[in-house]
């Protein structure tokens, strides 16, 4: 045993390690490998992964694409019904372009996320259960396509949770998920 303010003995590398410390090293090492394996494995067998396909896209072009999508979508009082399985969301100061939208429960949609101006945060939760929520970063210059299947009908609220300017807190949107 030595003290941390003095040079250690010459044979410090060979001093024996306490039995309990060795056991702890084993436990900590096993835990580390275990949680790594779980995280990596979950991308294979799990249902919730922040994984999709990203395309580079000019912000103006992305805005046009969202515009075309809105043309093609059916307008209702609750929002746009997407023409196919693709749902476009365009984040801009201080609005979610393309929202509100009406989706069907149990159907897999490809959600397209992109921004027209600065970075935003796409944060979604069902109205009646706030602890179910997910958060994804949105960039200008990228179109991120992430599949999502909402399993329960209800109203899902979208807020922005990346600071995007003084009006940031007003940035609110909605998905209405109806029985499929």
């Amino acid at each position: 045993m030595s003290n941390p303010l003095d040079d250690p003995d010459d044979d410090w590398w060979n001093s024996p390690v306490h039995r309990r410390e060795s056991i702890w090293l084993g436990l900590a090492g096993a835990w580390s490998l275990g949680i790594f394996t779980w995280m990596a494995g979950f991308t294979q067998f799990g249902d919730q992964n922040p994984v999709g396909t990203t395309y580079e896209v000019d912000p103006d072009q992305y805005q046009e694409r969202v515009g075309e999508y809105k043309e093609a979508a059916e307008e209702t009082d609750d929002g746009l019904i997407p023409p196919e399985d693709d749902v476009y969301v365009g984040a801009m100061r201080f609005n979610w372009d393309g929202l509100p939208a009406v989706l069907e429960a149990g159907r897999e949609y490809d959600i397209h996320l992109g921004a027209y101006d600065v970075q935003h945060g796409f944060s979604v939760r069902p109205e009646e259960n706030l602890n179910k929520q997910i958060n994804l970063q949105v960039f200008p210059g990228s179109e991120w396509v992430i599949p999502m299947t909402f399993d329960e009908p209800g109203t899902y609220h979208v807020v922005c949770n990346e600071f995007c300017g003084q009006g940031h807190r007003t940035m609110h949107g909605r998905f209405t998920v109806v029985e499929g």
Binding site: M1, S32, V51, N135, V159, N161, F163
Partner: protein
């Protein structure tokens, strides 16, 4: 003026050295004075950033709703930069000077550079403050991150670069000390110096990344380049944004080894294991910067998983090594002196009234249980979807830096007041209360932030959301009770911070001068080097082992709970 000058006075021998009555180290005037200078500057930054903690917390507590959005983000930026960057980095330069020349018993070399580094850092820090405070539309407040392409004044990026350059200059005397010390003699550095050295290397890596990030953004802001890529900026930015957190971590751990030894009588139970843990940091910890990009577009899942796990959790493993080694050092040191039997007698009989000891131990416990566990859990790519940019993230990093590192540095400042400024505390009772009050209040505030984020999804970085989202029926009003608790305990935490600054400044100005040889109540019972000398395997480490098992149990429970919440979500991702 003379009051200030007297702060820098001690009795030195003809060569400028004196022997510390607590640590027994040979301290040269030059080192001591620069440690004081950087430490005092850090406390000023703490006071500035701490006042903004008040306005920030009282705005987020929408029951009070202090600030409008037009000033909230400015205050939040001031809070972040003065506390996370200036309070911590000025302290860290002091830690390098303690860990290098002071522990090694040398003069401070290259003193001109130390002075130049300090001046440059101060100019940079004042510049950053001014650029945040004076920014005008269309420029926005930078917050901590100044993410492009949100327009932030170029002065901000420029002065931040100045500060980083200053920190590099100020670190040079430290590296020079290590260089001369190890070049000729094949000297093995003491553990504290070794920890400081690894801290220094990681600091330089972080600073280079920071200069690159801010220079890139600056070039865009002054039209040297036409466009800027938010993804590239984020990668560069997090080299420093995360890198400074690694400096905070390593500096804190170095302080843990130092202070548990000098005020708690701790020993090093295995040089080999503790040094290996520092080496693991050197290799792996920087990969962790990727955990800020886990829910970003354009980075592959494999890249994110490899990096966020520091390659199979190499750095988390290292932290778990220190989590055992440091308390075990206290246990072994105290058991050898016959202080405390049973499972936890060594702990319960420890000098809990010494605020330096209590600060250090609370720092260790709270950092581990609140900050470390949540960091690893939210750093898993999938769980991150439920934490990212919610107040839970803010809870996590207040557990690491506002509880862990800040408490350790509170302890260090109080220690420096006794041993280098040679002042008694103005009030022992108030000084003893600091770690208890701050640790308890900040722990509750931190937990409430985590609950608000993870159980209610309340976003961070917003002036209001809980009681009202303008233009929408929706709000997070279910979280109102959580914020009532948060607000009250945030106030208590801020008051405890005021207590710390008050006791520190009060002691410097009005504390009695300690007589030569007086240890000011800092030394552990039986002195620093108690006899005994039993080999390590003869000492019981049952208490630490039990504590670590509890830690692992809590870790597993938090892990399972977070994964449970995650798997309740709808299906997301390919």
């Amino acid at each position: 003026m003379s009051a200030i000058a007297s702060l820098f006075r001690n009795d030195y021998d003809a060569d400028g050295f004196r022997t510390c009555s607590v640590t027994g180290l040979d301290i040269h005037q030059s080192v001591e004075n620069y440690v004081k200078l950087f430490g005092l500057t850090a406390v000023i930054a703490l006071a500035v950033g701490g006042s903004f903690a008040f306005s920030v917390a009282m705005t987020r507590w929408e029951f009070i709703g202090l600030l409008d959005p037009s000033s909230y983000y400015t205050h939040l930026s001031m809070h972040a930069w003065n506390l996370l960057i200036f309070w911590m980095v000025f302290m860290e330069i002091a830690v390098l000077y303690v860990g290098g020349p002071m522990v090694l018993g040398r003069e401070l070399p290259l003193r001109r550079l130390a002075a130049l580094g300090w001046v440059t850092m101060v100019v940079g820090a004042i510049g950053v403050n001014a650029s945040i405070w004076l920014a005008e539309a269309p420029n926005e407040a930078p917050l901590l991150t100044a993410y492009v392409p949100l327009p932030v004044t170029p002065w901000f990026y420029a002065t931040a670069i100045v500060f980083l350059l200053g920190a590099t200059i100020a670190a040079l005397p430290f590296f020079a000390t290590i260089w001369t010390e190890t070049r000729d003699s094949h000297r093995t550095l003491p553990l504290v110096a070794f920890g400081a050295f690894v801290t220094g290397i990681i600091a330089v890596e972080a600073i280079l990344g920071g200069i690159a990030a801010f220079a890139y953004a600056l070039a865009w802001r002054i039209d040297l380049i036409a466009s800027v890529d938010p993804g590239i900026y984020r990668q560069l930015y997090w080299i420093v944004g995360h890198g400074t957190q690694q400096i905070n971590l390593l500096a804190m751990i170095t302080v843990w080894y130092f202070l548990t030894h000098v005020v708690g009588g701790a020993v090093v139970i295995s040089e080999k294991v503790s040094r290996t843990a520092f080496i693991l940091y050197l290799f792996f910890i920087n990969l962790g910067a990727a955990h800020h990009l886990l829910v970003d577009p354009g980075v592959s899942a494999g890249w994110r998983i490899w990096n966020t796990s520091y390659a199979f959790y190499g750095a988390a493993f290292a932290s778990m090594i220190h989590a055992f080694a440091i308390p075990a050092g206290i246990e072994a040191g105290r058991r050898r002196r016959g202080q405390g039997g049973g499972l936890f007698g060594w702990l319960t009989s420890a000098p809990w009234r010494n605020p330096v000891f209590a600060s250090t131990v609370f720092s260790i416990i709270l950092f581990g249980f609140l900050g470390g566990i949540t960091g690893v859990v939210m750093g898993q790519i999938q769980v991150n979807m439920t934490w990212h940019n919610t107040l839970a993230t803010v809870g996590h990093f207040h557990a690491t830096v506002a509880l862990g590192t800040t408490l350790a540095f509170f302890g260090l400042v109080l220690f420096v007041i006794k041993t280098m400024f040679r002042r008694d505390f103005v009030s022992d009772a108030l000084a003893s209360a600091i770690p208890y009050a701050y640790g308890a209040a900040m722990s509750v505030a931190t937990l409430m932030l985590m609950y608000a984020g993870i159980l209610y999804g309340v976003p961070r970085r917003t002036a209001e959301a809980v009681r009202n989202i303008p233009g929408s029926e929706f709000s997070f009003s279910a979280a109102i009770p959580i914020f009532m608790i948060f607000g009250i305990f945030a106030l208590l935490a801020i008051l405890s911070g005021v207590l710390f600054v008050g006791v520190s400044v009060g002691s410097l100005l009005f504390g009695g001068r300690l007589a030569e040889g007086d240890d000011g109540g800092m030394l552990p019972e039986g002195g620093l080097h108690a006899d005994g000398g039993e080999p390590i395997h003869a000492v019981e480490l049952r208490g630490t082992f039990a504590l670590c098992l509890i830690f692992l149990g809590v870790f597993a429970a938090v892990y399972v709970l977070n994964w449970y919440l995650l798997t309740q979500l709808w299906a997301i991702g390919a």
